[in-house]
């Protein structure tokens, strides 16, 4: 499998759902529109020539400069990326998928951005998505059990966001 042909193949199949790709990076990635992530993932898993049956990781990256000077120079607008690392046990090849999200849903601070859950495509995504929800505040629609996994259930905020601030105290324990 080579990445350029795969991108073409996916574009043919999903059209506008494949929003872009970066094939120059060390690990090339393909960008998928958040609405069609489940469809693409299902296709990647079920297509025999691809057979991405193993999900290594689902994670996210927060793109935001808290420093205004840096933000002004930055090449990108603040956004969240959900990153899927896939692998095929049969063909022993791997793939990186990305889905771009706004940092807050409809740019309203506090409203979690949404993306469809792939927990029913690969069951391992269940916990990875919970972790993502916990640390980045991404709402995975259709997730069977979207609760915090690493932080306590009554924790406020999502620690891996760049603008996260440690709470002053938690149940009487000093935070900062």
């Amino acid at each position: 499998m080579s990445e350029p042909t795969l991108v073409d193949q996916l574009k043919q199949k999903f059209g506008a759902a494949i929003t872009g790709s970066n094939l120059e990076n060390v690990d090339p990635w393909i960008e998928v529109a958040p609405e069609s992530i489940v469809a693409v993932c299902k296709y990647l898993r079920d297509e025999p020539s691809l057979a991405f049956d193993y999900c290594n990781s689902v994670t996210a990256v927060d793109y935001l400069h808290t420093d205004e000077k840096k933000a002004a120079k930055s090449e990108w607008q603040p956004h969240l990326e959900v990153v899927y690392h896939l692998f095929s046990m049969q063909h022993k090849h791997s793939l990186v998928l990305k889905a771009m999200l706004t940092r807050w849903k409809d740019d309203e601070v506090g409203e979690l951005p949404e993306i469809d859950s792939v927990a029913h495509v690969w069951r391992t995504a269940d916990w990875h998505e919970r972790e993502c929800y916990d640390l980045f505040g991404i709402h995975f629609i259709g997730h069977p059990n979207l609760r915090r996994i690493l932080c306590p259930e009554d924790w406020v905020g999502h620690p891996l966001r760049k603008d996260y601030e440690m709470p002053l105290e938690y149940h009487g324990i000093r935070g900062r």
Binding site: N25, V26, N56, S57, V61, D62, R123, L160
Partner: protein
């Protein structure tokens, strides 16, 4: 596997009330601070829900604030039973980003150290599993041997648990003179002892009764849940990153002779030397997971010997540690390595500065543990430690 003949199909004679029981976070057999909420009906567990996070130390957030070499000590504290392998995983991921290739001697050194780390880790896994099943002595035997590995590691880097030895660009120092001979002597001593462990556990009839046919996980489930390492291979999936991984990692093992430890047609590689698979055992059960680990110890012994040969004849340097505040090239990489507990992955996003924009650790125990609620459905209370123990988790790696 028929439902009727299965020993775990329990007939209810009395209607009892369901009870929620907290196993952990302070429980002898949850391997640290894991909390399992059991829904029990008498001795039968109908549902197990793991609760994590008691050891969460924000390693990923820390990784966004430190240069790669500064982060090395934090990787030690992820899987603290296999710190060397964690160091290696992180170092290779950064090297992949930097497109750096360590010299030949450094490669062989890394094989020696990481395979020794694997032996140490599997020894603990074996001993702790005995503990889970109620036998104490193998634990101490395992620690006795592990101590000797730790002595060797101490000689190499001065630390016994958090080594920070393998680092980006190679290692912090070369192996001290005479170390290789000591290591070889240790391997010669360890080999016959493994046979003793097989007598004590693997072939012990009570051990077989407790593990064979318990917690059976099919290959499809194992893949679906993203399990890796001995847990995945115990289910019969032929996958080992040392052979099937990315090139930067497999290059380390280039030219090494080893077979992936996985059952094929009812046989394990070189299994004539080891106890036969008991007829009660079903592929993917606790026994197989344990057995794969035991065989991997032998495999690692073999690999270390090969690596020592190559290391002794290799010329040149063991590598050049990267500068502390060296700027990283722009880009993002994801690399998984075969750590003792499975595939340890690091995902690094760099925006061209010395400090990565994002450092993500995909831990093998995390995925391996996620399968517990699937495996512990309708088992007995005593099976829960047996199943969780067979996954061989380390909470430091899960909670990060």
């Amino acid at each position: 596997m028929s439902t009727v003949d299965d020993p775990r199909t329990i007939e209810f004679d009395v209607r009892t009330d369901e009870m929620l029981v907290n196993m952990g976070p302070q429980h002898p057999s949850t391997h640290g601070v894991l909390r399992l909420v059991l829904r029990t009906d008498g001795e039968i567990v109908s549902e197990v829900t793991p609760h994590l996070g008691y050891l969460h130390r924000c390693a990923e957030k820390i990784g966004e604030n430190l240069t790669p070499r500064q982060f090395i000590p934090y990787t030690d504290r992820m899987d603290y039973l296999a710190g060397m392998n964690m160091n290696l995983g992180w170092a290779l991921a950064i090297e992949k980003l930097m497109k750096y290739e360590p010299p030949e001697k450094g490669r062989h050194l890394r094989v020696i150290i990481s395979e020794m780390g694997r032996i140490a880790s599997h020894l603990v896994g074996m001993g702790a599993y005995g503990l889970d099943l109620g036998t104490f002595s193998p634990f101490l035997y395992a620690f006795r041997e592990r101590e000797r590995i730790l002595d060797l590691f101490e000689e190499v880097c001065g630390a016994r648990l958090t080594y920070s030895y393998l680092t980006v660009g190679g290692a912090t120092a070369d192996l001290p003179p005479g170390w290789v001979e000591k290591c070889e002597a240790f391997l010669t001593q360890l080999e016959p002892i493994i046979v003793e462990y097989h007598t004590l556990l693997t072939t012990n009839s009570i051990f077989i009764k407790r593990t064979a046919g318990i917690g059976v996980m099919s290959a499809a489930t194992a893949i679906d849940y993203g399990t890796s390492g001995p847990v995945l291979r115990g289910s019969g999936v032929d996958h080992d990153l040392r052979r099937d991984g990315e090139e930067i990692y497999t290059a380390m093992y280039d030219g090494y002779a080893f077979e992936v430890i996985v059952e094929k047609n009812g046989h394990y590689p070189k299994d004539h030397q080891y106890p036969a698979v008991p007829k009660e055992a079903i592929l993917g059960d606790c026994w197989h997971r344990f057995y794969v680990r035991m065989l991997e110890v032998m495999q690692s012994i073999d690999l270390v010997r090969q690596a020592i040969d190559r290391y002794s004849t290799a010329t040149g340097n063991y590598g050049e540690p990267m500068k502390l505040n060296q700027k990283l090239p722009k880009g993002e990489v994801y690399l998984e390595t075969e750590a003792p507990r499975g595939q340890m992955g690091f995902y690094i996003v760099s925006n061209g500065e010395a400090i990565p924009w994002r450092a993500r650790a995909r831990s093998s125990s995390f995925c391996n543990l996620s399968v517990t609620s699937e495996l512990c459905r309708d088992c007995l209370i005593a099976d829960v430690p047996a199943i969780v123990g067979s996954l061989d988790i380390v909470m430091g790696e899960i909670d990060r």
